[in-house]
Amino acid sequence: MSASYAHPEVLADSGWVESHAKDANVRVVEVDVDTKAYDEGHVPGAIAWAWNTQLCDTVVRDILPKAAFEALMTQSGIGNDTTVVLYGDNNNWFAAWAFWQMKIYGHKDVRIMDGGRKKWLAESRDVDTAATKPAAGATAYQATEPDYSLRAFLPQVQQAQKSVSAVMIDVRSPQEFSGEILAPPGLPETCQRGGHIPGARSVPWGKACNDDGTFKSASELEKLYGAEGVVQSKPVIAYCRIGERSSHTWFVLKYLLGVGNVMNYDGSWTEWGNLVGAPVEKGGAKSVGQA
């Protein structure tokens, strides 16, 4: 690991976005936790994707199927060579979820606006309240076959847990990790058991961000994740409750720190915590090496 980001090209600052949001080859997309946020005001020229209807298969629990992803891109005026800049509320939590899917389907130039919606508002930059209606792409978008090296499925996670062959990072809150609560405070419980995957390390996702919503420096991130056993030579599996928070950590590890083999386990605790017979550990985080 180094003292600067491994892939700084995946970040766009708010000043750059303000200057380029309406460029012909740029598409800015807001993806929020709270899908009503866009309607209140958004980056001029930005469109919005709703994570719960447009970035998932709404029948089967899964990411967008390839054909649906291609249709979304085409309808959004995005071509294979478009520079896509994603941003959103809550430190780009769901923007990272969209980023992860775009990389699974092979989009080349996708970036995250550092600081997201919060920094844009705090800087008093212009917002529009009328929805942007994109002209559909001139040509149909063609996705690659899904790159599942970026995604962990249950059998891989079970194997990794048994053989301790990957660093497992639980990015939920400490109270979810311990089992004290079964869902984020104020949200419905979606699992039968509380706790965490045995052996997982607790690194809440928000620790990767500064107060203004920007990502912490490479050296700060190295220290944060290095203390939990993340090294270049070992695969990392990040998980949370439904896979969105962990896509943020996946982004940080893969693109800011350059860890070679990082997977997002989007089945996450909603899958593991409902499995009959799955091993569960309760209690708070332990330091590395502690039994």
Partner: protein
């Protein structure tokens, strides 16, 4: 239109940390209440004054947070 008077602060609501984000857009005040960890939105309120927007957001957050069960570990 430019957002003005952006502010953010944390408030304790019955033992839960809530993040309140408020700003003015045009003539209206917008407040969002999130649980601090993980940061999921609990309430989004638009009102004529900062005080009204924040008090209504906190009331809604309190209502939702009261449903959260704490389990013994």
């Amino acid at each position: 239109m430019k957002p003005e008077n952006f502010s953010e602060r944390q408030v304790d609501v019955d033992g839960w940390q809530v993040n309140l984000t408020t700003y003015k857009l045009g003539e209206k005040w917008h407040t969002k209440a999130d649980n601090v960890s993980p940061g999921a939105a609990l309430a989004r309120i638009v009102a004529d004054t900062r005080e009204a927007a924040e008090s209504r957001a906190l009331a809604r957050a309190k209502e939702l947070l009261s449903r959260t069960k704490r389990h013994s570990v």
